[in-house]
């Protein structure tokens, strides 16, 4: 315990040193603006009136931050408040993050020390037992220190709660465990992925009734967190925060050196994840699908062997898969993996010392040693890409595209190595049936899109979309975006269409065709719901070349038919302009748009 306290104190001191650092300025600015809003105007108001896009329970944390800041400074003193080096705010926001780090380290130690056959490792005159070593691994991990104390990100809070849930689960307190895990998810949405594993554990260990009670506990926590929204009849905001924060930046990789970073050759932050990579299948779909496959595999792993070691490995696998496979991943999303690596450390040391030195053990050691460095490098680069002056000395010189690709390759190799090890632990019959099923599913999807001679444009997601009013509606008018009571079929001058895109001037859509199509046909016209004064112009561009121009069209014109060749076109651009007379009433539709192979 004494040694632990020394380690924790040391970890705390290191972190204290970084508190004055402005960190990732934009993130801290968001904490400032949201905590100010939530402290002054309340939780629901903040979600309604600001650009808040984090998880719902995080609002409570921000409220506490906002109130705590008032004890140290005056948030209405804007000059002071918005200074990047506002030490009071940096302290208020970073201290809980640091505390969560320390508590996690303590939790790792506490959980592991209860195990039998603890191994001791000698480092000079120090004899470190493996729980202590695991705590130190977490505590002095450069990625963990940099992400929280330096950057100002809050991954540590969700991770600490996941650890608490895991401890409770292993202590046979499933309801509390699942309640805490749900809270972790509502604080940090990525933590949702551990819930199925925990629920499976409860089902296997505690039976059906406890499993159902756990689901009820999840519901209770969800509704308790959502109480302000229930009282104000705004639960749609909670749903929106949970669903839409996942699609905020539709790009291949948000600086995560993962599979998609490699695909984009280092341009992950500037490449849309709507690009078609397999026939008509987008990168986003492939990413999500493959993550889903690995999620199910981790569940299979736990299903057949429900013990602590497998649970930890399954969680580690899932953390890594989440970082590596889906698109839109941030550099910091690898965070929870270090918790599970720390928890696995004693097992690895034990196996090593008992001369069970298989390739697997060496591989785990490689991950343990390499991942903190590469993840830290990834994190640091992400910071200096945005704030070149805020990086650590010398390290900023290593931000080379080729090196980032190497690191992404290392991450991919580590992930596949881990996957091979863990897939091998699944019963062959089970995994082959499952994998075959997944291949068939993907194959069926591919086959349908490959064999189709004509494809409705509505089935493809544009890689860029913008319009000056409302949102792009599929098979519905733009006015339908107001809500279910306003839904209408597309029509132009009362000629009805079942398929198409309801839009509004000025609008621009870019579709990635990848030279897969020969012809494009569509009808165009002002929607029947457009104003009597509506006037628009439809234009179609193929790789920046004008292919069609409708001329000025009004509400009472017949729809126009377009039939143009698009062979060899990589990007198809659909434009609706306001015909230079303002956008009032300019509801305009792409009707029955079809691509032909």
């Amino acid at each position: 315990m004494k040694k632990l306290m020394i380690l924790i104190s040391l970890g705390f001191l290191i972190r204290l040193f970084f508190i004055p650092q402005p960190g990732f300025v934009a993130d801290v600015a968001f904490w400032k603006s949201w905590s100010l809003a939530v402290a002054e105007k309340g939780i629901v108001w903040t979600t309604l009136e600001t650009n808040y896009n984090y998880a719902p329970a995080f609002l409570y944390f921000l409220k506490a931050i906002g109130l705590a800041y008032r004890l140290l400074g005056d948030p209405t003193d804007f000059r002071q408040y918005w200074q990047e080096t506002n030490l009071s705010f940096l302290a208020v926001i970073k201290l809980p993050i640091i505390l969560a780090d320390l508590l996690t380290a303590f939790g790792v130690w506490w959980l592991l020390k209860r195990e039998e056959n603890l191994q001791t490792l000698k480092i000079g005159s120090w004899k470190l037992k493996t729980p202590l070593l695991a705590a130190a691994y977490y505590l002095f991990n450069p990625f963990i220190i940099f992400n929280g104390a330096y950057w100002g990100q809050v991954g540590s809070i969700g991770t600490s709660l996941v650890l608490l849930a895991l401890i409770l689960l292993l202590k046979d307190q499933p309801l509390r465990a699942i309640g805490i895990a749900t809270l972790a998810f509502l604080l940090k949405l990525q933590m949702i992925f551990y819930l199925p594993l925990f629920l499976l554990w409860i089902l296997k260990k505690n039976g059906w009734k406890k499993f159902v009670s756990s689901l009820a506990a999840m519901a209770v926590v969800f509704f308790l967190v959502s109480l302000p929204f229930i009282f104000t009849h705004h639960m749609e905001k909670v749903v929106g925060l949970v669903l839409h924060s996942a699609d905020y930046f539709p790009l291949l990789s948000l600086n995560a050196y993962n599979f998609w970073w490699l695909v984009a050759k280092g341009a992950g932050f500037t490449t849309s994840d709507r690009i078609l990579v397999l026939g008509l299948t987008s990168a986003k779909f492939i990413g999500l699908f493959s993550f889903l496959v690995f999620s199910f595999l981790s569940l299979l792993l736990l299903w057949q062997k429900t013990n602590k070691s497998t649970l930890t490995k399954a969680c580690l696998w899932l953390s890594f898969a989440f970082f590596m496979l889906p698109t839109q991943m941030h550099e910091r999303y690898i965070y929870p993996a270090f918790l599970f690596l720390a928890l696995l450390l004693p097992e690895i040391i034990q196996a090593y010392r008992r001369k069970k030195r298989s390739a697997t053990i060496y591989f785990y050691i490689v991950i343990l040693l390499i991942l903190p460095c590469t993840a830290f490098y990834n994190l640091h680069n992400a910071l200096i890409v945005n704030y070149p002056n805020l990086g650590l000395p010398y390290l900023d010189r290593l931000n080379l595209n080729s090196l980032t690709l190497v690191v992404a390759g290392i991450h991919l190799a580590l992930f596949f190595g881990l996957s091979i090890i863990l897939i091998n632990q699944i019963q062959p019959r089970l995994k082959y049936v499952f994998l075959a099923l997944m291949v068939v599913l993907l194959g069926l999807k591919q086959a349908s899109s490959v064999s189709a001679k004509r494809v409705s444009l509505t089935k493809i997601t544009p890689r860029f979309q913008h319009q000056d009013y409302g949102i792009l509606m599929k098979n519905l008018t733009v006015h339908s975006g107001w809500g279910i009571k306003y839904w209408s079929f597309l029509s132009s001058n009362y000629y009805f269409y079942r398929h198409g895109l309801g839009s509004h001037a000025n609008s621009r859509l870019i579709y990635p065709l990848n030279r897969q199509f020969k012809r494009f046909t569509t009808d165009v016209g002002v929607d029947t719901q457009g104003g009597t004064e509506a006037s628009v112009e439809f234009k179609i561009l193929g790789d920046d070349q004008l292919l069609y121009d409708s001329g000025k069209m009004g509400k009472f014109d017949f729809p126009q038919h377009v039939d143009i060749p698009v062979a060899g076109v990589k990007n198809l651009e659909l434009i609706i302009t306001d015909a230079n007379d303002g956008i009032a009433g300019d509801h305009a539709d792409w009707l029955n748009p079809i691509l032909y192979k």
């Binding site: 059906w208 229930i230 639960m235 909670v238 749903v239 839904w487 009805f496 009808d523 029955n592």
Partner: protein, 730 residues
């Protein structure tokens, strides 16, 4: 205290019914409806006319309804037994009420007694009496913002007046409960068949929900975890056999209605004027938002029933070792997911039979029904192990806000009905004169605006004039842009400034507000209070025409081409393209619609707007030469003497009534081949000379055969129930 506990479920049931009787009592004073009940009463009124006029008993289950959308055989496609039952009660028992009062009295009783149906349904599932009582307690008090579920907004005067849905929902829990017993125990097949048939016959959409729900019943008997697969499969097979046997009985009983309906489905419109949400439902996000905001069960009040549903779901799930609880734990999520509809489930929804022509938003009935049972289970769990006093207090605390909510919603109902009745009494004096005047005039349709224009605010009491006229047996145009007649969608393109459209639809009369400018070619007959009656010259229900083009299409693809035809000179020229929805046409000049706007000629694809079919530049010329000399309308038979000039070699006689195969066409008393022409009218080829032409709607005699098979099946089931039980065993 023990006695109190024993009697409590009955108190809850009685309380729920008494409250309903009180809070719904203003419904008995209605003089005019503002909602779907106008349509329903129109059908009752028509059934009453048929009862009086026909010698053919089959006409009672299949007759022509000329009131809307150029006529349509609504009983052929739509529920008719409730209307028949009502008319039978009226005719056979001669109660001291008008048929309108009887209509509302029965609806009132059905709504008030809904808790009884839920109570009995819950008991048939073997749920405890207190649970059943609690289900009954909440059964009339769900609340939505008019989502067509099992809530007062669907049924009452201030709501949608969906009286057939109310009737079907009354039978729904009974049908499901009996089906449960039939599948579980292999007995009481007859009850299950009768209640499910009643549910389907009352409202096909609600019956469909019962059918889908009962498909889950055998699954509820699978014990989890599955240990011996072969036993499970054998049991599952036996349970599905019992279910199938019951459904076969239902099918045979209703075959007279369902079989012709399925085989003539192409003459049943899928309207694009219906909002997409009706067809597709609302999608995952909207449904989840509705539920979490309490708007699916507790609109504008505390989400108590939503919470009880969730509690009930978890309680039922935790007791899932018992099949009845497993069923409800399964039923609610299945309906909740199905209610997401097409926006979320996409093509998967097509796996459900007939789903492509189903209003998926009605799946809310499944959500509501399953939620009601869960509420009872949840509430019972809350009061469990409490003292009698504690139980009663808790039930009161749960019920009070819910009942208050219903009372708050229905409070204005009473006042608004009173006010509307007063307005109706005031308007009726003049309106009745208009009706009398029209009935004195030659037969023809009436136009009094439509929902999309000035007609919406032109009313008699609370009822738009176009609806008020139609409900009194007069043929109107403009109302019902819905999923029945294929003419209901094109009819919305009627242009009141174009004389050719009046002639096309035989709109002879215009009823307008005094301040409404009537077209120059219309002649005023007279003014009656706020109403003006005018007349337009038409050729009557018959006209002459040509058809030199055939359009082969599916019904989903005809609206745009019909719209283009309606605004073209072809209407003036009386060129009526032949519409072929099934089979082929003998005409050489034909096009085939591929989708809403594209068509094919000799394998080449064209677009309606890039390559117009009906060119505007065609010279004005009325081709068909001849005249309609005499016209006679008698119940379901329309006759005329028609003179055709000798140079009119390929003339058509066009009968301005919606096409249906059940129309019998005769020329000079000899059967003649009938055609379907634009927009969806009847026609027949007619040679030069003077001819007697008649079109008569006759119910198909196949119905008699199917009715007989249904009756036999019912007798067989009642006689051999015991043998069936012995045969299908595990």
């Amino acid at each position: 205290m023990k006695k109190v506990n024993q009697l409590l479920p009955y108190f809850l049931l009685a309380g729920a019914i008494v409250f309903n009787l009180w809070v719904l009592s203003p419904e008995l004073t209605i003089k005019s409806d503002p909602n779907d009940n106008i349509f329903q009463f129109g059908l009752v009124d028509r059934m009453n006319q048929v009862w009086q006029s026909t010698n053919n008993p089959l006409s009672l289950i299949d007759h022509w309804v000329p009131n809307w959308a150029l006529g349509y055989p609504l009983p052929f496609y739509y529920s008719h037994l409730p209307h028949l039952a009502l008319v039978a009660i009226y005719r056979l028992l001669s109660p001291p009420l008008t048929i309108f009062q009887l209509f509302h009295l029965l609806q009132y009783l059905i709504l008030a007694l809904t808790p009884l149906s839920l109570y009995l349904g819950a008991r048939k599932f073997g749920l405890p009496k207190l649970t059943a009582g609690l289900v009954a307690l909440f059964s009339s008090h769900l609340a939505t913002d008019g989502l067509y579920g099992i809530d007062p907004a669907s049924y009452t005067w201030r709501g949608y007046g969906l009286s057939l849905q109310a009737l079907s929902v009354f039978f729904l829990p009974l049908a499901l409960g009996c089906l449960w017993q039939a599948v579980k125990e292999g007995k009481k097949y007859l009850g299950a068949i009768l209640f499910l048939s009643a549910c389907l016959a009352s409202h096909l959409a609600t019956g469909y929900i019962c059918l889908l729900s009962c498909a889950l019943i055998p699954l509820a008997f699978i014990k989890i975890p599955v240990r011996r697969w072969h036993v499970i499969v054998r049991k599952l097979f036996a349970h599905y056999c019992r279910l199938l046997l019951t459904l076969t009985g239902v099918f045979l009983l209703l075959a007279y209605w369902l079989v012709p309906l399925i085989f003539n489905n192409q003459y049943h419109a899928v309207s694009l004027w219906d909002p997409p949400s009706k067809w597709f439902s609302y999608g995952f996000k909207e449904v989840v938002n509705l539920f979490l905001n309490g708007d699916l069960l507790d609109y504008q009040r505390w989400p108590l029933l939503t919470a009880l549903t969730l509690i009930g779901f978890f309680v039922a799930s935790s007791r899932a070792q018992k099949p009845k609880y497993r069923f409800f734990a399964l039923l609610f999520p299945v309906w909740f997911v199905l209610f997401f509809g097409k926006p979320t489930l996409g093509g998967l929804i097509k796996l459900l039979p007939l789903a492509s022509e189903y209003h998926l938003h009605r799946f809310i009935i499944g959500v509501h029904l399953s939620a009601l049972f869960l509420m009872g289970i949840g509430a019972n769990r809350l009061v469990k192990r409490r003292s009698s006093i504690g139980t009663i207090i808790l039930i009161i605390l749960l019920a009070l806000p819910v009942y208050q909510g219903t009372n708050k919603y229905l409070g204005p109902n009473k006042q608004w009905i009173r006010e509307s009745n007063a307005r109706f009494d005031r308007d009726w004096v003049d309106f009745e004169k208009i009706i009398q005047e029209i009935t004195r005039q030659p037969p023809g349709r009436i136009y009094a605006g439509r929902p999309g224009n000035w007609g919406k605010d032109f009313k008699v009491g609370p009822t738009p004039v176009y609806m008020a006229l139609s409900v009194r047996g007069l043929a109107t145009s403009g109302f019902l842009p819905e999923t029945w007649s294929l003419n209901s969608d094109p009819e919305q393109f009627f242009n009141e400034q174009w004389p050719q459209h009046y002639n096309l639809f035989n709109i002879r009369y215009l009823v307008t507000p005094l301040d409404h400018q009537i077209p120059d070619f219309a002649q005023e007959i007279g003014s009656f209070g706020n109403y003006r009656l005018s007349q337009v010259e038409t050729s009557g229900y018959f006209d002459l025409g040509y058809s030199n083009l055939a359009v082969l299409a599916q019904k989903e693809n005809i609206l745009n081409i019909i719209h283009l035809w309606m605004i073209s000179n072809s209407v003036k020229q009386k060129q009526f393209p032949t519409l072929v929805l099934k089979g082929s046409s003998g005409l050489t000049n034909q096009i085939k619609m591929i989708d809403e706007v594209n068509y094919e000629v000799l394998g080449q694809k064209y677009n309606l707007f890039a390559n117009p079919v009906f060119t505007q530049a065609q010279a004005f010329k009325i081709n068909p030469k001849g005249k309609v000399l005499q016209e006679k309308v008698e119940f379901q038979k329309y006759e005329a003497m028609i003179e055709i000039d000798k140079d009119c070699q390929s003339c058509l006689v066009v009968f301005k009534m919606t096409y249906h195969p059940n129309w019998q066409t005769k020329i000079d008393h000899q059967p003649a081949e009938k055609l379907m022409v634009f927009p969806s009218l009847m026609a027949a080829r007619i040679p030069p000379g003077m001819h007697h032409v008649s079109f008569e709607y006759q119910p198909s005699s196949i119905k008699l055969l199917l009715l007989a098979s249904g009756a036999l099946a019912l007798i067989a089931f009642s006689l051999f129930q015991k043998q069936l039980r012995r045969q299908i065993r595990f």
